[in-house]
């Protein structure tokens, strides 16, 4: 396969002078985003912009406490409100068998609570009114009597024998156990640990990845319009997976699938938050069905933070067995996973712990083993959302933190330790000890490049000098490998739906084209990237290609955008569907050029006769011919279009080396991220500018998680992060100027060699930042501190309080 090199130096920094991002490649390369003229001028069309004649507004009453039995609900006063059209409780839904719905993990979740509430802010009733304000006002008129029940908040106590049972709705459920999961070889791993205890070194550390929230700028919303005449439901909704949602609605509501049209308009950030189906969507559909009018639901910021899909919440014990010289031999972990009140994890069915199995990282090991217990608690459901590549965020944090713990104990340089343990380039494809087949990698050059950009040796010298003066400077490294692009249908499905993706390409007579995707952008730039893929393959300029997505009536089936899967799966589909069109174009060209097909060659949108470059036709000429008059080569239909459904052969395994430099104020314990170097390898790059944008966003995300973000609860289960004053996300003030670079190691099985990039930086940056802070605190004898490293937590760590009080 060939890798098309970007004609410009993609490591150069774009400035207003060099217009690096502003050239117009007929294929891969830097190019301004086609969607931006609409978005930056405020002309985007988001769910809450959708207005349909006669539309009503829905608001949800939520539970005030984390665990309580519903004694009674009096909705008469709310129903008497002059502008209220309907007040619906769980009991009302139960009459239609709609009170519960399946989650994406084959659990069930209450649409509206019937028996009891299981987390604070759970949905209890909804009001539909003529306007948004009246709907909210009427919520206050609903009188619910609750009987308080003891909540399960501390995940470590959830499995205690006397813990209250949260899920007594499940037949025979007598505890809060959700599922157990394991990977690797326990016995082989223990054998190596036993040997290392005798002859080598074993390090153990307790590591918490706290509960965080995706907090997209746009909260969740929908407009449900069930036409009473045609019986067709049109649902505008904030969904990253319109086709999967449509099928689930069909199965839940018993509506025929062809009578459901899901439209995902512009989406203001997803990060996994818009993968699940939330009760608000279902309530809106039910309301439209009951009342016969379109119904809008738009949650507010608090509702988004306290009730929708959270992420992480893994309590991990990590262990490494190594030789005294620093050869890592085995890794083991025991995980306690907090899944909240309902198991709402969105992950392929066979992977209840997502892809946490790649916790072996980028290292060549002799053995590995992980065991996980997932439990229910009285907290909001969710679990896999948030730019985590199906739990790879947790896996990478665990291994990259543990490698630094080992470096601390061995008094080794953490860069050197990593370099000594990398999987070597000739070992690819590499099968890990937990069964993952890494497609390609060449780790050392990437690591060396990052060290070079950072000036690693100089930084260490500077650090030594500063330590002499009592100043706290830290250098943190993380080297991550991700597994993205779910996934091969032999292994992966969600609720029985295979994770393949369709693509359709139609070239119009004038040589313009439309490509229809099953995936859906939430800001990633699909309308640009996919046009570039088509352009690269058939030579139609990106600006002549319309990218249609996010509308189930107008796009082929596929499972949507999350887990960095758009480019690995749908991007491959786009390349292959273009090649199908190109193959047909080549036959038409052979007729036009009066040559045999084999004698026609293609380059950059032009088909010419081999050895006679003067005789050529362009893709645009061919498009007109395909639709025009006159005969086509024998046996060929008119038109120039194709469709495909791409089933990926394997996941793709992007990787990267990140180096973070922090300064910690010894008096106040404030952390300042001074520098951040990120060298990513996502294989072939389609649009380096968009890749940089993805990386920048993910790095900022990492600063947030490492230093400030946490969804915390008090002992009664009250969520303490119900606003953006309490749940902090970083601003431009907290992030440095990112220093990005890349290497290119193409994926061998992907048609264009591309790997996913959407989550690399979110996955890779938290360990680099935490490693840097812990490195800065080395004079205090500290080898671990838990996120988020707020000033208070850093100060407590300096005083030896490893487990922060709050």
């Amino acid at each position: 396969m060939t890798v098309t090199e970007d004609p410009v130096d993609t490591n150069a920094v774009p400035t207003p002078d060099n217009n690096l991002n502003d050239h117009k490649p007929n294929g891969f390369g830097r190019m301004l985003r086609k969607e931006d003229p609409r978005l930056v001028r405020g002309r985007g069309q988001f769910c809450d912009d959708v207005t349909v004649p006669g539309m009503l507004h829905l608001a949800i009453l939520r539970a005030p406490m984390a665990h309580a039995r519903i004694v009674s609900i009096d909705k008469s006063a709310a129903e008497a409100h002059p502008k209220v059209k309907a007040v619906v409780t769980g009991e009302d839904l139960a009459a239609h068998n709609l009170a519960w719905m399946p989650t994406l993990s084959n659990d069930v979740q209450a649409v509206l609570a019937t028996d009891k509430v299981r987390f604070q802010h759970q949905e209890v009733a909804f009001v539909v009114a003529e306007d948004r304000y009246s709907a909210r006002d009427a919520l206050e008129l609903i009188d619910v009597e609750y009987e308080w029940l003891e909540p399960v908040i501390d995940v470590r106590k959830a499995l205690e024998p006397d813990a209250p049972v949260i899920r007594d709705d499940l037949d025979g459920k007598t505890d809060n156990h959700c599922f157990d999961w394991e990977a690797g070889d326990a016995e082989a791993t223990e054998a190596i640990f036993a040997d290392a205890r005798e002859n080598g070194v074993v390090v153990t550390e307790d590591i918490v990845y706290p509960r965080v929230h995706p907090a997209p700028m746009e909260t969740c919303a929908c407009v449900a319009d069930l036409d009473p005449v045609s019986g067709k439901l049109t649902l505008w909704s904030t969904t990253q997976a319109p086709h999967a949602h449509r099928t689930v609605y069909a199965l839940v509501a018993g509506l025929p699938e062809h009578k459901i049209r899901v439209i995902a308009p512009d989406i203001g950030g997803g990060f996994g938050n818009k993968v699940p189906i939330y009760p608000g969507y279902v309530c809106s559909i039910v309301a439209s069905l009951l009342i016969g009018k379109p119904v809008k639901w738009a949650e507010d910021r608090t509702e988004n933070l306290v009730s929708t899909g959270f992420a992480r919440d893994y309590i991990m014990r990590g262990e490494i067995a190594a030789t005294k010289e620093g050869k890592i031999r085995a890794v083991r972990t025991e995980v306690l996973a907090d899944h909240g009140a309902f198991n709402g994890v969105a992950a392929p069915v066979k992977y209840p712990a997502g892809f946490f199995g790649v916790f072996t990282g980028s290292y060549d090991l002799e053995a590995a083993y992980a065991h996980m217990s997932a439990v229910y608690t009285n907290k909001a459901p969710g679990g896999v959302a948030y730019a985590c590549s199906f739990r790879i965020t947790e896996a990478v944090y665990l291994i990259e933190r543990m490698v630094d713990v080992l470096a601390y104990d061995l008094e080794m340089d953490p860069a050197e330790l990593r370099l000594n343990n990398f999987i070597q380039p000739e070992q690819f494809p590499y099968e890990s000890k937990t069964g993952w087949v890494y497609d390609s990698g060449d780790y050392e050059p990437t690591m060396r490049k990052a060290m070079g950009m950072a000036g690693y040796d100089e930084l260490r010298k500077e650090q030594a000098e500063k330590r002499e003066r009592g100043e706290l400077m830290g250098i943190g490294i993380s080297f991550f490998t991700e597994a993205v692009g779910a996934g091969p249908r032999k292994d992966m499905d969600i609720l029985g739906l295979g994770m393949a993706d369709g693509c359709e390409l139609r070239v119009h007579p004038t040589g313009k084209a439309v490509v229809r995707l099953s995936v859906k952008t939430q800001g990633q730039g699909h309308e640009t990237t996919f046009a570039q893929i088509i352009a690269e393959e058939i030579g139609i300029p990106p600006e002549d290609i319309d990218v249609v997505h996010g509308d189930t009536d107008n796009t082929p089936f596929g499972l949507g955008t999350y887990g960095s899967r758009s480019t690995p799966v749908s991007g491959a589909a786009a390349a292959l569907v273009a090649r199908k069109v190109r193959d047909k174009a080549q036959i038409i060209a052979s007729g036009m050029l009066e040559a045999s097909v084999a004698d026609v060659e293609y380059e950059a949108g032009t088909f010419r006769i081999k050895g006679d470059p003067e005789k050529s036709v362009t893709i645009q000429d061919i498009a007109m011919k395909a639709h025009g008059a006159g005969d086509l080569p024998e046996g060929l239909e008119g038109g120039l279009e194709a469709q495909i459904c791409y089933n990926p052969e394997n996941l793709t395994y992007p990787f990267g080396a990140y180096i973070c430099v922090v300064d910690v104020d010894p008096g106040t314990a404030e952390v300042k991220v001074r520098r951040f170097v990120a060298v990513d390898d996502c294989g072939t790059q389609i649009n380096p500018m968009i890749i940089e944008g993805q990386v920048h966003g993910g790095l900022a995300d990492g600063v947030g998680m490492a230093l400030m973000e946490m969804i915390s609860f008090d002992e009664d289960g009250n969520c303490l992060a119900g606003s953006l004053m309490d749940y902090l996300i970083p601003t431009a003030m907290e992030v440095p100027d990112w220093e990005t670079g890349h290497t290119v190691t193409p994926s061998p099985h992907h048609p264009i060699g591309a790997k996913g990039i959407g989550e690399s930086a979110t996955v890779g940056s938290p360990p680099a930042i935490v490693n840097a802070v812990v490195d800065a605190l080395k004079p205090y004898g500290i080898r671990h501190a838990d996120m988020p490293l707020t000033p208070s937590r850093v100060w407590e760590a300096m005083r030896g309080n490893h487990t922060p009080p709050i």
Binding site: Y133, W148, D300, T668, M710, M733, E734, P791, S792
Partner: protein, 309 residues
């Protein structure tokens, strides 16, 4: 609450309506201070004055505050928006916006604590609208300007239909969200005494730009040659009330500035603090900050007052 006890819900928040849409309210727009006072007299205790609105409106959206009437005093920005030096006093109108406090070079020269503090108060959007009067009247224990005015020994001018009265910061700030301003009264002006050979400084620790203080401290000193003639420290977010400045001032008075002195005074400030543990930090950490930030503010204020900054 014990198991089995039932609860009939009462306030909106008890009902779990953690919403972001305010309850219905009526709106009046005052065109002068006298008009505002007349409106307050007429509408009674269910009316609230709104200036910048960056505290009251969010509380209303969360239905933590449900006033029946809002009296908008933004049209008073001309009448009450000023920074004037009159004799040995700086007079600042209650409607002076954070941004004006931040950008005033005169204020930065005379009372640099204001610029120190304003640089770290919220963000430009809030600073464009929020006012000095609104900040003091909100009386949030984490509000920076109360600590600033406390350190500066400011006094507050409160007007009603019966005329004006002037109260010290100590008497003005009655506790969390509680001030000396009664029904029918409005804060119109803050007065800060000016003394020669004086300066001030402010230090704050926040989890993120724009966040409320984890803790902060402001210091103001007046020098007499090589000794401190007078000094005050105001703390923020380390307890429900203003700092008890008297022991701090007593420890500073007549002393030659030194790191040991600052440390001693910092310890007094810390001992006077009564912080509680929350998501911003532990009580121990906040007590530590009370000391650390007092030291830093005193060090800076003295350096400025003695021309060494």
């Amino acid at each position: 609450m014990p198991v089995g006890e039932t609860q009939a819900t009462r306030s909106p928040n008890d009902k779990g309506i953690n919403m972001q849409v305010p309850a219905p309210f009526e709106y009046e727009r005052a065109t002068s201070v006298d008009h505002a006072i007349a409106l307050m007299e007429r509408l009674g205790s269910e009316a609230r004055v709104v200036a910048g609105g960056h505290s009251l409106i969010p509380m209303m959206k969360l239905r933590l505050a449900t006033p029946e009437y809002l009296i908008d005093i933004n049209d008073l920005a001309a009448e009450l928006g000023y920074i004037r030096v009159e004799g040995a006093e700086v007079r600042i109108g209650a409607m002076t916006r954070h941004r004006e406090l931040l950008e005033s070079d005169e204020l930065a020269t005379l009372l640099p604590i204001f610029r120190d503090a304003e640089k770290v108060i919220a963000d430009p959007v809030v600073r464009n609208r929020g006012t000095l009067g609104g900040s003091l009247c909100q009386a949030d224990p984490s509000e920076d300007l109360s600590a600033v005015c406390d350190a500066l020994n400011a006094s507050c001018v409160i007007r009603s239909k019966d005329g004006e009265r002037v109260v010290s910061m100590h008497d003005f700030h009655r506790g969390p969200y509680e001030t000396a301003v009664a029904d029918g009264e409005i804060l119109t002006e803050v007065r800060i005494p000016l003394r020669p050979n004086s300066s001030s400084a402010y230090h704050k620790v926040e989890r993120r730009a724009g966040d409320w203080a984890v803790a902060s401290a402001g210091a103001a000193v007046t020098m007499d040659g090589g000794t401190i003639a007078d000094g005050r420290v105001g703390l923020c977010a380390v307890g429900p009330n203003l700092t008890n400045v008297e022991p701090i001032s007593a420890a500073l008075r007549g002393q030659v500035p030194s790191e040991e002195l600052f440390a001693t005074v910092g310890q007094i400030a810390s001992d006077n603090a009564s912080p509680s543990t929350d998501t911003r930090g532990t009580a121990d950490y906040k007590s530590h900050l009370a000391k650390e930030l007092t030291i830093r503010s005193l060090r800076k204020a003295v350096a400025r007052a003695t021309g060494q900054d």
